[in-house]
Each structure stands twice: as C-alpha cells, then as structure tokens.
C-alpha cells in the first residue's frame, strides 16, 4: 500500500464528496441572513443613462434591490421573474432597482436592450454598495420595506412564489 497516494487521493476526494453532499437538502434560492431586520445601507449612485438615484429618495415605498451581472447565468434565469414583478407591482408603488456587480456597463446595456427592463440599473464603482450589502456573489436580492428595513434577502435567483409572497407581505 502506498500511503502517500492513499492520503493524497482521500484529501482531494473526500471534501469534494462532502461538499456535494452538503449541497443537497438546501433550497439554493432561499437563505437566512444577518442583514434581515436591520436598516438598509443607503446609497447614491448613477444609472446607466447617467441619472442619479438615491435609496433615501425611495423611502416611504417598498424597494427591491437586485444585484446582478451579465456573466451570471442564474441572473438570466431570474430576469423574467423581475420583469413580471415590476410590471405587476410597479404600479402598486414598489420600487425596483438593479445594481450592476463587477461587470462592464456596455455589456449590461446590450443585455438590457435585448431582454428589457422596467427599472433603473445602477453603476457601482469599486463595488462599494455591494460591499455594504455584503454581496458575495450574484444574483442577490434585498427586499426593503417603506421604513428602510431589510425584510428579506434572497441569494440566487428569486422564484416567482418568493417574489410574490414577499411583496404581498410588504405591501
């Protein structure tokens, strides 16, 4: 028995299997988060068209903040859900705003032109807002109520059901 080979093989394969096994039994789309129930960090950013947007200005209305990028496949899966929600709940007074995460604005513009959007997309130079929100990867979506409190954070694409139930609860 070559113990070195055995050890090396087990060191590589055991954690891999453990990680994959741990991946079961979790809904990859729903996760608890320490930020829930705290005040949402404020931000003043520019939209892709150069207009100003401030979260402070959106206070008094529920706001959905979605971090995304064009290189992220789950974001593309999520996009139609956001589109429908914005169409249905925008008129009821819910703000939708997207923050671009580690991406080129030209790519984002091209993507949005193709897939459409009913909300402003903000540039986040240096990723300062993403850091403030503790975004570790995309997509991540924060539901902020009229008082500016984070009601819910969803990592990974938001499903239709989660979107609807959370918005209904906030309205």
């Amino acid at each position: 028995m070559n113990w070195k080979v055995l050890a090396a093989g087990l060191v590589i394969s055991a954690p891999l299997v453990a990680i994959l096994a741990a991946g079961f039994g979790r809904d990859p789309k729903l996760r608890s988060n320490a930020l829930e129930g705290t005040q949402a960090p404020m931000f003043d950013l520019q939209t892709l068209d150069g207009k100003a947007f401030s979260l402070e200005g959106a206070r008094g209305q529920p706001t959905v903040v979605n971090f995304w990028s064009t290189w992220c496949q789950p974001c593309k899966i999520e996009h139609p859900v956001l589109m429908q929600a914005a169409r249905a709940y925008g008129p009821l007074g819910v703000n939708f705003v997207a923050v671009l995460y580690q991406d080129e604005t030209s790519k984002a513009r091209a993507y949005l032109k193709q897939s459409g959007s009913h909300w402003p997309t903000l540039e986040d130079p240096g990723g300062r807002t993403a850091i403030a929100y503790g975004v570790a990867g995309v997509p991540e979506t924060f539901f902020i109520d009229a008082d500016g409190t984070i009601v819910r954070k969803v990592s990974g694409p938001v499903s239709q059901e989660v979107m609807v139930s959370t918005l209904e609860q906030m309205l």
Binding site: M1, N2, W3, V5, L6, G9, L10, S13, L16, V17, I19, L20, A21, A22, G23, F24, R26, P28, R31, S32, N33, S69, W71, C72, Q73, P74, K76, I77, P80, Q102, S106, R109, A110, Y111, K113, Q114, G116, G134, A136, G137, V138, P139, S155, G156, P157
Partner: protein, 653 residues
C-alpha cells in the same frame, strides 16, 4: 405494450450486465478462457437489450405513445419529427437511457476487439466497464425509469424544452458529448485492469491510449459543437461562459489531454506510469462529476434539469467510484513503478511533457475549484455566490499562454539531454518568427497584450509544428531522391500517430488565435430601424425591409428581414426571428449569423413592432469566429489520423 417491453429489455440488459461484471472479474482472476467467452457474450446481450430498449423508446416517441411516462413528459403532436427523435436526450430519464445504450455499445465493441488480445488484462477491464454499466442500467430500471406506464394517458404532451428544439446542432452536440463522456469508462476499466493485474506491458499501454483517443476526440467535438450551439442559438454572440456544465465537460477533457501527453513519456521512458494511470481514472471520475452536476440540480445552470431523486444515488456512486479508484491506485501503484527511472535534465522533451502535465493539472484544479467554490462557500457561510467569468478568465489566460509556449518548445526539444547550441539552432527560426509577429502586430496597431502574446506564441508553436510535420519527409526525399510530396505522404502514413498529433496541435493553434481575436476585438451595438431605413455599423449597411409572421404547428415566429451590404457590396438577407413556443411565456430568438473568413456579423432581434414598423437589433461583429469551428475540425481530423489502426498488422495477416 411499449412500457412493458421496454422495461423487459432494460431488465434483461441489467441481468446480462451484472453477470458479465462478475464473470469478467472471475476470468481476470483465473485466466479461464471459457469464462472470458461468457463475459463477452454477456456484453453482447447487454448491448443488444439496451439497444432494443432505446429503439422502443424512439418508437414510442415517434408514434406519440403517451402511455409511456417519458413521452408524456417531452413529446407533443406538434413537434417536428427530427426534434421528436432527438427529444430522447432532452430530459433526464431519456438522457440516462442514452448514456446506458452508448455504454452498452462501447462494451460490445471492446469485447469484440479484445476477443483474441491481451488475455491478462482484457477480462478484468471488461468486468470493470460492465460494473459501471450495472449502475447506469440500474438507474434506467429503477429511479430513472422512462418506461413507466401512465395510467390515464392524455392525447398530447408539452413537447421538449423550446431552447432545445431551436437548432440542428442539438441533434449532434449531446450525442458527441455522451460518446466522449461514456467512452471514458473504457480506458477507466483498462486502468483498473492494469492495477489489478499489477503489470503494464507496452502493448497494453498503447491500447489504453488508443481507447482514450476516441472518447477524447468525441469530447473535443462535443465541447466545440456546444460552443457553436450556444453561439447560434442563445443570442448573446458568445460561445463559452464558464457555466458549471460547460466546465463539467471541459474537466475530463483537460485530464485526458494530460494523459495523452504523459502516456508518450511512459511509452518511451517508462516514467510516470502511476501518474498516467491516475489521469485515466481522474478523467472518468470527472465525467461522473460532470453528469452529476448536470443531472442533480445542485448547481444552477442553463443545463440543469430540475431537482431530481437521482442526485443522491449518483453522488453515492461517485463516492464509491472515487474510493475504489484511490484505494486501488494506492494498493497497486508501486507494482508499476520502475525503480531506477530518472528524468533527464530540464532541456529535454520529457521535461517539457512534465511541464505540460503540470499546467494541465493546474488548469483542471483551477476550473474545478471555480466550479465547486460557490457550493463550498454556501456550505461554510450559508451564502451562495457565483465566481463567474472574471475569475476563470484571469486564471486561465496565463495557463493557456504557458501551454501554447510549451506546444512550441516541447516538440523542438529532443528526448534525453540537449546541448545548448543544438537548442539554439532548433529554436532560432521560431523565435525570429515570434519577433516578426510582435513587430507586425505593433505596426498594425494591435496593442492588447493578450492578443499580441497569443498571436506571437501561436506563431512560435505553429512554426515548430510545421517543421515537425515536414522535416522527416524532406530528409527522406533528400536521402532517397524521392519527389517531396511522395516522401511527405510516406512519412505521414508510417508515422501517422506523430503526424496526427501535430495536426491536432495546428487545430489548437487556430482555435487559440480565433479565441483571442474574437474576444478582444469584438464590437457590439444596438440599433432601432424604421421600415426602409438604413443604418451603418463597422462597414456594414443594414436596411430594414419588413416583418412577417410565420405560423408552425409547434410555434409562431416573427421574422424581420434586413438587407445587408458590406463595404457597399451586397452580403445577403438577414432574417433574425423571435419564436413563440406554445406553453412558454418568453420569446426565444434565433439570431442570424453572417459568417465570413475574416469576421462574423451577428444580428439578433430584440423587439419588433409591426404597427409602428420598427425593429430593434443587437449587432455584434466578431473577427475570426469561423476559424474556431474550423480549428475543431482540424483537431478531429488529426485525432482520426493519430488513432487510425496501423496497417502493419493487416499486411502481415
């Protein structure tokens, strides 16, 4: 009837396969010729039974027999015949059946070709491959049973995933990939046989190499066709996105490529035997990981089918296969090692191969880490992240540069020790060409470091490759006074493995240049046109001539027509469309790609407003994309030449 017949065929296959797995090991252990014959017969029965099951499934799909569960899930009366046939691999159960049938056929082919060869190894190998077969057939017979009977069948179904019925490449991309994935089981079985018997004669090592070459080539083709499919269908003008499932197909390709190189060192110098066997095993285990990623729902990806009960079972099999491989390797690898084998100094061909293997291993590890890291992070911190393209591009570009560099240096180095002046003479011309390319790039205003470096290194590797292909023929022509062409053909025929290998290198060089050019010098724009209006972009004049609605049984489409001129010359009509499938809210676009040798014009339709007579387009101009597909063809050609059975034996017979 079909549910019962299909189930019966699968169960017969499972029985044959299980018997063969046991008798194979038995024949390997005892060396009994009669048991070995029974093992081969079991392999043939396995292949026949699963083939019948697959044909029954195709029959059920074509005749729209909705009493079969799988047909009820993916069939529809409106789907065109071609896509009905290929819907065998459009969903989970069908694709596992496809896996099983490909494996069964591989088993039969292996059994037949080994009938009178390698008596010490072949029975072990077939026994191991059939053991893999038992698992997949078990899935088809149990939790992924596509033949389940639907109690009250409807008279129509939802049809396959619209994305998958949008393009003809869907017909060949998945089977090519499966041929590669599943084919890796054969060298895996052979590697296990090597360890179980404790010996690796040169002829057996060559056989492993040949059996690896076929799935490697299929995987190469599958990966490139996948890129092509995503380019032609998905509408964003890209061909690779480091999606977990793309990575899953890339990982075994990387280790298999490393194997093909290390096996050459092993054959010539008796080095790296254990390592080479480990690479074969890793390639197979990575295909299992890849399938797990696609089929378990643990990863988010465009390819993932939904959460399925198959995940945990598959993971269990992966864990067992990993454990068996590691223990087998650890227990027996020392039997293969040649005690006094030492590698030559740094300026030798062996050392270049070693560098190549290090780079490919690093590449594998990088991609594996990037793919699994989001999941790891999620488990540790409960937060899901996506490392995405930036990580992969940052990490892979330097590794690819290193590989390109070694592709030039390696073949220029002789086996064993080298004198510095020999080295200088061998590398003189390539270095001069590299310098000339850099100067040319700078003179033409090409300043992007990644592009310049790729072009320069490709030139370097290209010159060396060309010389390696031509030099033997030139020497022969001079020595024997033959015409050059005849001498070249003779050297290529005799040394077809070598020549094929260098042709594959040419393919890789072409692809490297194409990737660098198309990703660095890509330009995009969006424009909205009124009917009759013309707009220009990058030398193209695009005129919107009108829209039409086309109704088909399974979908309706809005087609926008554009006249395209390039530098004032008519290039043709572009007809990008938006397809609306039944039972699907979103429209799926079919972009128009106008391919040229120098660049592609890529038009995808964003929006059409027939009342206002307006159409919005997204336009991408990408240089040299065509060469990417062409390079894939060159790689396939090279692997066919390299893997072609030698005609020496036939002449003797």
């Amino acid at each position: 009837m079909i549910p019962e017949l299909g189930r019966g065929a699968v169960l017969l296959g499972l029985a044959a396969c299980s018997v063969g797995a046991v008798t194979g090991m038995w024949a390997g252990k005892t060396g009994r010729e009669d048991v070995w014959r029974w093992t081969r017969i079991a392999a043939y029965v396995f292949a026949a039974a699963i083939t019948v099951a697959t044909l029954l499934m195709e029959y059920a799909l074509i005749t729209h027999d909705y009493s079969v569960k799988y047909v009820a899930e993916v069939g529809s009366n409106e789907t065109p015949l071609t896509f009905t046939i290929v819907s065998l691999w459009s969903s989970l159960e069908g694709s596992i059946l496809l896996w099983a049938v490909v494996l069964a056929v591989w088993c039969a082919v292996f059994a037949y070709s080994m009938r009178d060869k390698h008596p010490d190894h072949a029975p072990w190998a077939l026994g191991c491959i059939l053991t893999v077969g038992v698992f997949f057939t078990f899935l088809v017979a149990g939790i992924a049973n596509p033949f389940e009977r639907v109690p009250n069948p409807l008279d129509n179904g939802p049809g396959p995933n619209p994305l998958l019925q949008n393009h003809v490449l869907m017909i060949i991309h998945p089977p090519a990939l499966y041929l590669g994935y599943v084919g890796m089981s054969v060298p895996f079985g052979m590697a296990c046989a090597t360890l179980l018997s404790g010996r690796m004669p040169t002829a057996w090592a060559r056989a492993i190499r040949r059996w690896m070459l076929v799935p490697w080539a299929a995987l190469t083709v599958g990966i490139i066709l996948g890129g092509w499919w995503s380019y032609e269908v998905l509408g964003w003008g890209g061909y690779w996105a480091w999606d977990p499932v793309e990575n899953a197909s890339f990982l075994p390709w990387l280790t298999a490529t490393a194997f093909i190189h290390s096996s050459m060192v092993m054959e010539r110098k008796e080095h790296l035997k254990g390592w080479t066997i480990a690479l074969v095993m890793a390639s197979f285990l990575l295909t299992l990981l890849g399938t797990f990623m696609t089929r378990s729902g643990v990863f988010n990806s465009v390819h993932s089918f939904t959460q399925s009960p198959i995940g945990p079972v598959f993971l269990g099999f992966l864990a067992v296969a990993l454990l068996v491989s590691v223990v087998l390797l650890a227990a027996r690898v020392d039997l293969l090692t040649v005690p006094d084998a030492k590698l030559a100094g740094p300026w030798s061909r062996e050392f270049a191969f070693l560098g190549n293997n290090l780079l490919f291993s690093a590449f594998t590890f990088t991609v594996l880490l990037g793919t699994v890291y989001p999941l790891l992070n999620e488990v540790m911190t409960d937060v899901q992240i996506s490392v995405g393209e930036p990580y992969f591009n940052r990490m892979s570009v330097p590794i690819c540069m290193g590989i390109l560099f070694l592709m030039g240096v390696g073949p220029a180095l002789p086996w064993g020790q080298t004198e510095p002046n020999v080295l200088l003479r061998r590398l003189g011309t390539p270095i001069a060409v590299t310098a000339a390319i850099i100067a040319g790039c700078l003179a033409m205003g090409i300043r992007e470091p990644m592009a310049v470096m790729t072009f320069a290194l490709s030139g370097f590797a290209g010159v060396v490759t060309l010389r390696e292909l031509v030099d033997p023929g030139r020497h022969r022509a001079r020595a024997l006074g033959e015409p050059l062409m005849k001498a070249l053909m003779t050297t290529w025929r005799v040394g077809h493995r070598r020549a094929g290998g260098y042709i594959v290198h040419f393919g890789v060089i072409i692809i490297a240049v194409a990737i660098a050019a198309s990703s660095v010098y890509r330009s995009e724009a969006e424009m909205t046109l009124r009917e009759g209006q013309t707009k220009s972009f990058m030398g193209y004049d695009i005129t919107y001539t009108g829209t039409e609605r086309i109704d088909e049984p399974h979908r309706w489409s809005r087609v926008a027509r554009f006249d395209v001129l390039k530098d004032g010359q008519p290039l043709g009509d572009a007809e990008p469309r938006l397809n609306h499938y039944k039972k699907m809210n979103q429209a799926i676009g079919t972009p128009t790609v106008m391919t040229g040798l120098d660049e592609d014009l890529y038009l995808s339709l964003v929006q059409v407003d027939p009342e206002a007579k307006m159409a919005s387009l997204s336009i991408v101009v990408e240089p040299l994309v065509w060469w990417l597909w062409f390079g894939g063809g060159v790689m396939l050609l090279g692997s066919i030449i390299a893997g072609w059975p030698s005609n020496r034996r036939r002449k003797v017979a």
